[in-house]
């Protein structure tokens, strides 16, 4: 059902005027990595489109509200439109104050492997960005030496290599409004960027305030130490 809303979401992308996204796949990297990293909002918006089309039907992200999308550059009207296109468990359309919750699916539908909540999945895994990317691009045919458990799929990015989730992304699952080619690595990289934002939405603000605070305290420390040395020298 959610695939129907993808064009609507795509139309809402703010960065549609921008040219093709810069190549972050060779070598694989994300703008949010590193001490001074910040989110690439175009990538995070594309990641949200993939998330909403491919992940949200089974996974929840209960720490996120639809109103939080405004932080990604969506206008309140666009965020409200996205929310309204999502059906709650009781059939009513979601509002800005609802959390990211999939429609009620019985646990038995997942073969005993309940899809985890994705709000903080990337901070809860070492190297979360790479983890999600490797998992989404890690589906291959099982080697001959491996006997898969019933209902499991072979995935080189998953601990133990046998995962209960069928391959969610195959490439060209969405149409990006900014013209970026929706290859599997691009989609995986974008949804990884979106989940990084979901896990740590304050990263941009934290780094911004951090630079100012550290610079201020650096000069304060130098002045304070110089003052102290001058005062103590006068006792001699």
């Amino acid at each position: 059902m959610r695939r129907l809303f993808a064009p609507l979401l795509a139309a809402g992308l703010l960065f549609s005027a921008a040219a093709h996204a810069e190549d972050t796949l060779t070598p694989l990297h994300w703008q949010s990595q590193g001490s001074f990293g910040s989110f690439d909002k175009a990538a995070v918006q594309r990641g949200f489109l993939v998330y909403q089309s491919a992940c949200a039907s089974c996974h929840s992200a209960s720490a996120l509200h639809y109103r939080d999308l405004e932080a990604l550059g969506f206008s309140p009207e666009q965020a409200a439109g996205i929310a309204a296109s999502v059906k709650l468990a009781n059939g009513a359309p979601a509002t800005l104050d609802d959390t990211f919750k999939p429609a009620a699916v019985p646990a038995s539908a997942f073969g005993g492997a309940l899809p985890p909540d994705l709000s903080t999945i990337e901070s809860a895994r070492p190297h979360g960005l790479d983890y999600v990317y490797n998992l989404l691009t890690g589906y291959t045919a099982a080697p001959a030496s491996v006997t898969l458990l019933p209902g499991r799929f072979y995935n080189t990015g998953y601990p133990g290599q046998q995962i209960a989730m069928p391959q969610p992304l195959k490439g060209n699952d969405v149409v990006y409004a900014d013209g970026t080619a929706a290859t599997l690595p691009q989609e995986a990289s974008d949804v990884s960027a979106f989940l990084a934002w979901s896990a740590d939405p304050n990263l941009d603000e934290r780094h911004e305030i951090g630079v100012r605070a550290v610079l201020f305290l650096l000069f304060l420390s130098i002045i304070a130490i110089a003052t102290k040395r001058k005062i103590w020298r006068e006792t001699a």
Partner: protein, 373 residues
């Protein structure tokens, strides 16, 4: 009026704190190092934790501990900043306390007449470990949940008086209501930390009054300038950690919600609890672990009497060498429980624990007695 006109309005009515006002008299030694300001930094960090903890307590919901911290970080205005102050504040406070204790041991500052100050510092450390663990349990992450479950199950399963205390503290095995109790204990014991800091301040002031400085200087401007510089550098390190490495020394698996059906692969505590957690893990029974932790703190408290040299005795070369080994030993203790992938980490934990007690109970009396001659 018979009131002494020389006394201030307050001093004539409330004499106790008024005694403290005379402390900027020139009784302080010139040339004290910056590290001598650690108690002030510890008090500052504790006050910051109290203020930020107050804000967190207003929003914290013990029925949904993890979700409510997510709510604070995402939906409360500047909540992530306050939560960061509290989390990084704990790291900075523990770093300062570890440094203070180690510096005291190295300088043998615990010898007479400094025993009471030393005892209060060990008490402060013990209280902080308890408050720190309670705060860690309140984070309600996937790892903290199992630490709390283990502790609550073990404590409620104890027999005799220990079991009575354990059941009273946790109110039974980990379940609905446990975090609500721990939130109260976390806050109340935090106030006990402030009380201990107050007693410590009085004791250090009394010690300073006894000392006869060779080059006395007044508190202001000499010590105020030094304290200000110390605070500036402390805040600088604080800001670097908080804004650019907010999860340094913490187990990343704890940043997922707790699940009563999933035990995380790595169950390591925050770095500041790791050495104590290592000693507790050496013993196979609950009472053994409790005994181990108490013994670990007790040998620290007994240090003024384990040291057999005279108070003015010099630090010999062997003693200083042992200090280096002790530092490596405590770091090793913490590291050995943080890296379960290392196959010999279990044996290393036992070895480091034995060395810790060997250092304090055998080597310290022996070496100080020999070097005092």
């Amino acid at each position: 009026m018979s009131t002494d006109v020389k006394k201030s309005w307050l001093a004539s009515r409330l004499p106790c704190p008024a005694k403290e006002t005379g402390n900027c008299a020139p009784t302080l030694e010139r040339g004290a190092p910056y590290l001598a300001r650690l108690p002030a930094l510890i008090t500052g960090a504790a006050l910051l934790l109290l203020a930020s903890g107050f804000v967190l307590a207003v929003y914290y919901n013990p029925d949904h501990g993890f979700a409510s911290i997510q709510f604070i970080a995402r939906n409360v205005n500047s909540g992530w900043l306050i939560q960061g102050f509290h989390a990084t504040g704990a790291t900075m406070l523990f770093a300062a306390v570890y440094l203070l204790l180690f510096r005291d041991i190295y300088r043998r500052a615990y010898t007479a007449p400094g025993e009471l100050v030393w005892l209060l510092r060990v008490k402060l450390f013990a209280l902080l470990l308890l408050v720190g663990w309670l705060g860690y349990a309140l984070s309600d992450g996937a790892v903290a949940y199992w630490s709390l479950t283990d502790a609550a199950n073990a404590a409620t399963g104890l027999g005799g008086a220990a079991g009575v205390v354990g059941r009273w503290f946790f109110g039974g095995p980990n379940g609905a209501g446990t975090l609500a109790r721990l939130e109260v204990f976390h806050a109340v014991l935090a106030l006990a930390v402030l009380g201990t800091l107050g007693a410590h301040r009085c004791a250090t002031r009394a010690l300073a009054r006894q000392a006869k400085p060779k080059h006395p200087v007044s508190c202001h401007p000499y010590y105020t300038a030094q304290t200000f510089a110390a605070f500036a550098v402390f805040a600088l390190i604080f800001a670097v950690l908080m804004f650019f490495a907010p999860h340094y020394g913490l187990n990343p698996l704890n940043r997922a919600a707790a699940d009563s059906l999933i035990i995380p692969a790595v169950l390591s505590p925050p770095w500041y609890l790791a050495p104590v957690s290592a000693v507790a893990s050496v013993f196979s029974t609950t009472l053994g672990s409790i005994f181990g932790v108490i013994a670990m703190l007790a040998v620290l408290a007994a240090l003024p009497w384990l040291d057999r040299s005279s108070p003015a005795g010099k630090r010999g070369l062997v003693y200083r060498l042992l200090m280096g080994l002790l530092l490596l030993d405590v770091i090793g203790l913490g590291w050995s429980v943080s890296d379960p992938a290392c196959t010999i980490s279990g044996s290393l934990t036992v070895f480091f624990t034995i060395w810790y007690f060997f250092h304090f109970l055998v080597l310290t009396p022996l070496v100080t007695a020999l070097e005092a001659k």
